[in-house]
């Protein structure tokens, strides 16, 4: 595919991700830490985030299924997840974690289930979009193009 077309797609996707609140300025901070000596930094952090998040989501699902429910354990996992989503700039996931944490504090099992579904949804939405963005970057670079930082 034409490099210019790829770059246009990349730009539009990036703008949409920020506009729709999937990513916040922390992601921009991470992009700024990339340079020719560390070209894979954002991709590496993203991969760590994806793997870690899926592990935590599995643990959360298991814990909410427990009898009785260990809300303290759930709170600890949500705290972790909120932290990592904040560190990568996954804004909507972070917000979802805040809601989940509140339900946890109230020991509201049903509320927790709903909040967890929401967090899962937000996570997979941002994961898919971020993977697409990183793939576009790879393609652009493979075609000898460059990736402009977002305004």
């Amino acid at each position: 595919m034409d490099v210019a077309k790829l770059q246009q797609q990349h730009l539009e996707l990036t703008q949409a991700l920020f506009k729709e609140g999937f990513l916040d300025e922390q992601f921009t901070q991470l992009q700024q830490l990339e340079d020719p000596s560390n070209p894979e930094f954002v991709a590496e952090v993203s991969t760590l985030f994806f793997d870690d998040s899926q592990r935590i989501l599995a643990e959360l699902t298991k814990s909410l299924d427990g009898d009785p429910v260990d809300f303290k354990k759930i709170d600890a996992y949500v705290h972790q997840f909120k932290g990592s989503s904040s560190s990568i700039g996954a804004h909507r996931v972070k917000v979802g974690c805040t809601v989940l944490r509140t339900c946890c504090e109230e020991e509201n099992r049903e509320g927790c289930w709903q909040a967890l579904q929401q967090v899962k949804q937000e996570f997979f939405l941002v994961k898919n979009r971020l993977e697409l963005l990183l793939q576009l970057e790879q393609q652009i670079l493979a075609e000898g193009g460059t990736i402009p930082f977002m305004e």
Binding site: L33, S84, I88, Q138, L141, P148, F149, E151
Partner: protein, 194 residues
């Protein structure tokens, strides 16, 4: 998936973080149980030209510092750590516990310790600063937070804990205000009630 021939267009109008080396010989020990946060703090520190060792627990940090149980004081700091930056909330030993252990050790008490936390709890910040932490960073950690660290190696910092505490608290509040304002343009003022 290695990238080759990388060059990135940099928007000249965008203010880039300074990559000027601070002091290449400064060795920072970073302590955080989150692998994502460890990766980010490592990169932030290396970008500022610090040498970095990162560990995932306070216990590992104590091993590196040579003050685990049973070791003689003469082995303290054989890795020549010049600064410790640690997460507050960690399982087993917290960042605060680590701070206390370091300050109780004659060979290590002068090493500056900086604490990071995702939670903005004024009483927690106050306690850490009063008990010897040089600074407190609210997560997510950004380049401007790491830039602030260089002052802890300056010889002009006043030794009086009272002056340092209130100055540091103001800097922490200002940094937090800037972070929040940049994300929420409608928030004009943030007050951290100490």
């Amino acid at each position: 998936m290695a990238r080759t021939n990388i060059s990135r267009e940099i928007d000249a109008k965008k203010q880039l973080p300074s990559r000027a080396p601070v002091t290449p010989d400064i060795h920072v020990l970073a302590v955080d149980d989150s692998n994502i946060d460890r990766k980010v703090i490592e990169r932030l520190l290396k970008t500022s030209s610090y040498k970095v060792t990162s560990v995932d627990s306070a216990l590992r940090a104590l091993e590196i510092l040579g003050i685990e149980e049973g070791r003689s004081p003469s082995t303290a700091n054989s890795f020549q750590v010049n600064m410790i930056i640690t997460d507050y909330s960690m399982p087993d030993l917290t960042g605060y516990d680590l701070l206390k252990r370091i300050k109780e050790n004659a060979g290590l008490k002068d090493i500056p310790v900086v604490i990071m936390s995702s939670e903005n709890v004024p009483t927690r910040i106050k306690r850490c600063l009063e008990d010897g932490a040089k600074d407190f960073i609210i997560k997510p950690v950004q380049l401007e937070d790491v830039k602030r660290l260089s002052q802890h190696f300056s010889s002009t910092i006043k030794k009086s804990s009272g002056v340092v505490c209130s100055k540091r608290k103001q800097e922490i509040e200002d940094a937090q205000s800037r972070k929040i304002a940049s994300r929420c343009p409608h928030v004009h003022e943030l007050r951290v009630i100490a």
